[in-house]
Symmetry: D2
Subunit: 424 residues, 4 copies
């Protein structure tokens, strides 16, 4: 665990400048009728889940280049998540991936408690074969033509729910890679029906206060067709399953050029938006760090969410889902948490009354300018102040680097090899 | 009207070769257990609607280069459609576009009867302003912020239904260009709700034996967001309207790389597939001639349709929707009718029993090969034989050129100028 | 011409707040070792050309919805450009489009002098037919199979040079729509050779102190292939023509997902970057307002330009090229000028020394954060101060609206109709 | 090695039908003035190289699902390549990947001789770290900021040349994954210069009768920028290196919607087309089996190649580059060889004289129809006859399955595990 004195020492170096910047921003916002302290409170209330697997170095089908001090198991991963939340105060929960993160629930809870972490949605895995597995997922899992393979995949998901119940999770995210690499390889209609049947079997095992998230993805690992390829199919799935079934949007899982914030709006309309996997992308499911490629797109997504935040029953699960191939994963997860939080806070500054007027008048230029004005506001002082007030670091990266944490765990943890793909 | 003797003379030149080719193909298909005459009957039963506006030369926002003998009104257009059907026997109906095709219903029916043509789905237009129009559609039509503009657009659609009733149409296709060019220009959720309200008002005016088609399009003319941007939104629309509301798929209206045949499969699953606008595309909504860019994709769409042809209540409206910028529109429409028919017939040759076996066994290679074997079959003799048997031309293009029709109408019709965009 | 007193009155309302904001920003930048006044000077030195045709309302192939007070001729357009520059001080030159803007050179210069405007690159037009034209461009212009058509197109370009010489222009931009809508329609290799031959003929007519810009575009108006489809072909063209030939990059003319800033870098490496057409896009050549869809991409382009600004012989022509379909074009052009200037100024704030260090150390996280820190700086006070110091408006939009200019010209100019495509 | 008697037995079952089909096709082609035997000779002369690594099951970053009897080393791989060529007679050479395929050159040649195989281009690998490697390629190889890393990568390429010389190869293909995952991570201009310097060092070591191929790829494994991202950069590279440097086109390495056959045409114009990596794709670098997604695109590429086949100095290296994730790799490679051969033969049937006439007359419809007519010709009897005449199998897949080869090697070879990415 990080020594709090490091945070204090690093914060002390930056506190005066922060105060200046914060007061200047407060003055500018005040001129627009915005109370900066209310915004700071919103920032403090923000949290995004970290995926346990995100703490390891990711890779591609071409290679994985491990970093120093990679976590060897779920407890190492929780330690890393603890660092992230301690410094950012913006990542209070962890999302587990089964089977890799299986462990005694009491031990998991105890470790999480050390850092004030809770457990977010459970993630099942049926896109890899495990050594002891009876049926292979080479040709699919929940939608496989073989009944026994489907049953095995259903059983695995039910097990994820059981584990989740023991550690306080309240949701199951189902993403499958099932699809086809050739036209004709599968009967797309019957494959979807098999998928729905399997999902219904899982749904039956879902506790009343749980939700199940259906996550779509246009392609990869299947390269011709994918069972849940877009939000339309995800919606059909959630509709057929029932009211505990919701759609989850991963920002990188769409066709080129698709307007993602519009999908967000449509799923809100349909009452089926369940949550997000945050990341950024330029070409495909690149799993790049949130806000590093197209920060305005991230803002536009949050603009929809802030606009709809009073919608009855809208209860969103926010998770980061990235592949950190060339950075220290802890650093990337800290920065990403903050970038997501930044978009949320920028979207909170939109003058919605003025915007509604411009929209009503079809004053496209001023409506657009209203969004950009909020996006352009440098809310760094708000985010830093929120962290400071919550006991985190004014500058999480510099504080982390000053702490020597990575070198410390590198000395303790076994050295990882480069084998294996990027998803663990 | 084309002189039948021209068809006979041209057919006479080609009849012997056709007989040879047909018999050879019959022998090859027979070896696979396929009765060629049953396939010829399927070809004879095929028909696709021609859009009245497709008989004029199309254009882009950069220019329109008119051709010789452009049709000046709906009766000229029906004459051109008559030529198309006379020669191909594959285009027995016409789809009208209001307001351009407004005319006395009795006159329309009389003219259509001359050629044995019927009237397919009606198309409303609210993406252009007409000279006499009270409210402008610059900022939208069915989803406009202004109630009066929406009412005007609803009224126009109801008028289309009235006209359609008088001429024997049974469906209304609604495509709107409403959307936004800037983030923030519209509130995407409220804009969709206004659209749905307008559609419900139109739906109320729909006769019991009619259907209404909702057509999605990712972009253009709106370049940031479009109200009905994808099949997910189209599905939501059809679901909210009721059982007479169906989704129409235009092959060129999707994001890059999207698997269109999969959307077809999903809409069939949802019981909401209503029909198609056929064309081909390489970059966007290019409206190129069907089957000229990616003929295998067209085949894969038809593979889904033939596979599902016994689905209860599946009743599809097929129309061509292309922009003929550099060809004689009559020629393009003839070739396109045949290319669509070709894909249908190729898909009819798929060995579905073998395919189902390969799919069940996850023999991806042979499943894929089974589709390609059908696609590879040169079914030209079947299509030509079907035309010959139905009184059409063995070679419609050569016969058309031999007829001198274009020169004849060029001499009679007023010369068109290059002004105006491509959509009339 | 705008009454200066309006600018003064509007500026007076905003001067105090600007002073506060400016001083606060000066203090923050000073802490980073940046002298704000040097940056203000850079902003004052910035200028982007306005295309004459951009002052009219644009459209799509579906429709054009004209606005109030559309300019009826080049002198009206120059008046509008005068307003833009007067208020923003960032748009000091105008780019003409021939044949539409043909007029007596002395009159053109006199009108431009009124507003302190100069003339940027000339633009030829061979993608539309003019009423008096002998050869049609329906099947191409500079690359047409017909020698006389090519000669006519070459002649038109030479005429553009002559006009340009008379008004002080120093460059010719050649963009052609030549290509094909069908595989096979043209022989792509021979078509390119014909294009090169025509370009060589134009190049021969180029004065020694002129440059010729080759502009690539992936598609539209041709929908299968385009002669100069990407920067590779544009580079080949510029290489074959000679040292006065350079490549022009229009931000919206690329395939989906393409990394545009990398093309900028490559063309700088090749010594062939000549200039830009600025706009923004989400789907294709959407011609949306600069910086409204992906402002970070615009910043990344400018990051390359600022990084390379000391490259010998780098002399870039910057022009806006947008289609203003739903806004007042004057407003869009003012905002766009400022957004482009904003990206330039943000890029000027990048800590290049720190960045080089991170790059050298492969500290991807901090390198990326260094760019984002510059992008995030709200440089509005710098831009506003630059305008104020140069005699422009602190808030150009509000000042323009206060001036009543649009209503004034609407009363004087003839009412435009909605016919015609979007490109005039 | 496959028992020839199996081929004979299987061919015997199919010879009579083939004879019928062949004669019928001969008659149809004869009517068009085409001598089928000349076409059969072209088919017999065709050959495409098989990549050694293609004989193993591929995978994605998510998982690899190995098949039965995976080759354990280069000699197993050569055995598999021997089967492919024995049955198809269309895959007479093998392309090695170093370091995996390193072995005693005499042994390699001896094994290849058994099957009549030769060695095609050598492939270096600097996108993975090897266990014994001093410098890591995590942040690049030939373009790395660290001089020693670049030197190591250059040295590896020189070693590949040495190995190639010993086994009769005549070319080196260089593909690197170098790039960046974040804007700012690398200085794109300096990174390219470092790459060029490294390539020049390799070029110096190239024998006079060798060629070096530069292969571009838009993205993956780098997800923001890639050093050789498109054919423009590949062309710049080949131009700077010299006349032995050529560009290699992998069909799956382009941005969405890009017209690949046009790039082929442009590289032929520039005198820099060196060869191909064949595969098919729907979304990205999917590495799917050639001709299974868009067979017409493959035909259009071959249409350019056949059109240009008499170009002086055009000497193309053709290789398959696919990832066989769900099929028996031997089967996929056999089918793919034949699909590539099919496109070549279909393109050989294009009536080029008629086509040139239509192009000259701008008869887009008939020009396009001329290409489609050739594509539509079912050339299966030609391909089968070519195989039969060359001693191969009329039906390679059925013959292979009848041979029991896979089960045989599965019994002998060690069982592969699922670890590792898809590229070995």
């Amino acid at each position: 665990m990080l020594d709090k004195s490091i945070i204090e020492a690093e914060n002390a170096k930056r506190a005066a400048d922060l105060e200046t910047d914060f007061n200047q921003l407060a003055e500018r916002l005040d001129r627009k009728g915005i109370d900066i302290n209310a915004i700071v409170k919103r920032a403090q209330g923000f949290g995004v889940a970290v995926p346990s697997w995100g703490t390891g170095t990711g890779g591609t089908r071409f290679a994985r280049f491990p970093g120093e001090g990679e976590p060897a198991n779920i407890f190492d991963k929780l330690d890393d998540c603890g660092v992230i939340h301690t410094l950012t105060r913006a990542a209070p929960s962890v999302s587990l991936h089964i089977p890799w993160d299986k462990a005694d629930p009491a031990d998991l809870k105890a470790k999480a408690d050390e850092y004030g972490l809770s457990f977010d949605a459970m993630n099942s895995n049926t896109f890899q074969d495990q050594p002891d597995q009876t049926q292979s997922y080479k040709y699919g899992s929940l939608s496989h033509t073989n009944e026994e393979t489907r049953a095995q995949a259903v059983e695995h998901n039910l097990e994820c729910i059981e584990i989740g119940k023991a550690i306080g999770s309240r949701a199951l995210t189902v993403w499958i890679g099932d699809g086809a690499n050739f036209p004709g390889q599968t009967h797309m209609g019957r494959q979807f029906e098999r998928y729905l049947d399997s999902m219904k079997a899982i749904y039956k095992g879902l506790p009343d206060d749980w939700r199940i998230f259906s996550e779509h993805k246009i392609y990869e690992p299947a390269f011709y067709s994918t069972v849940v390829q877009d939000w339309g199919t995800s919606l059909l799935t959630a509709q057929e399953l029932g009211e505990k079934a919701m759609c989850l949007v991963d920002l990188g899982h769409h066709a080129p050029n698709v307007n993602i914030e519009m999908i967000v709006s449509r799923l809100i309309h349909a009452g089926k938006l369940g949550g997000f996997h945050f990341n950024d992308s330029k070409y495909g499911d690149d799993d790049l760090d949130s806000g590093t490629i197209d920060p305005y797109r991230l803002f536009l997504v949050w603009n929809e969410l802030v606009d709809a935040e009073n919608t009855p029953d809208l209860d969103l699960a926010h998770m980061i889902d990235q592949s950190h191939n060339v950075t220290d994963p802890i650093e990337s997860l800290m920065v990403s948490s903050i970038e997501i939080q930044r978009a949320f806070i920028q979207a909170s500054l939109v003058d919605r009354k003025a915007l509604a007027g411009y929209q009503s008048d079809n004053d496209a230029l001023m409506a657009s300018a209203t969004l950009r004005a909020a996006f352009r506001t440098d809310v760094d002082p708000i985010l830093a102040k929120a962290r400071e007030l919550s006991g985190g670091a004014i500058d999480p990266i510099e504080t982390y680097r000053a702490s020597g944490y990575r070198a410390e765990v590198a000395a303790k943890r076994p050295k990882a090899d480069g084998s294996g793909g990027g998803i663990v």
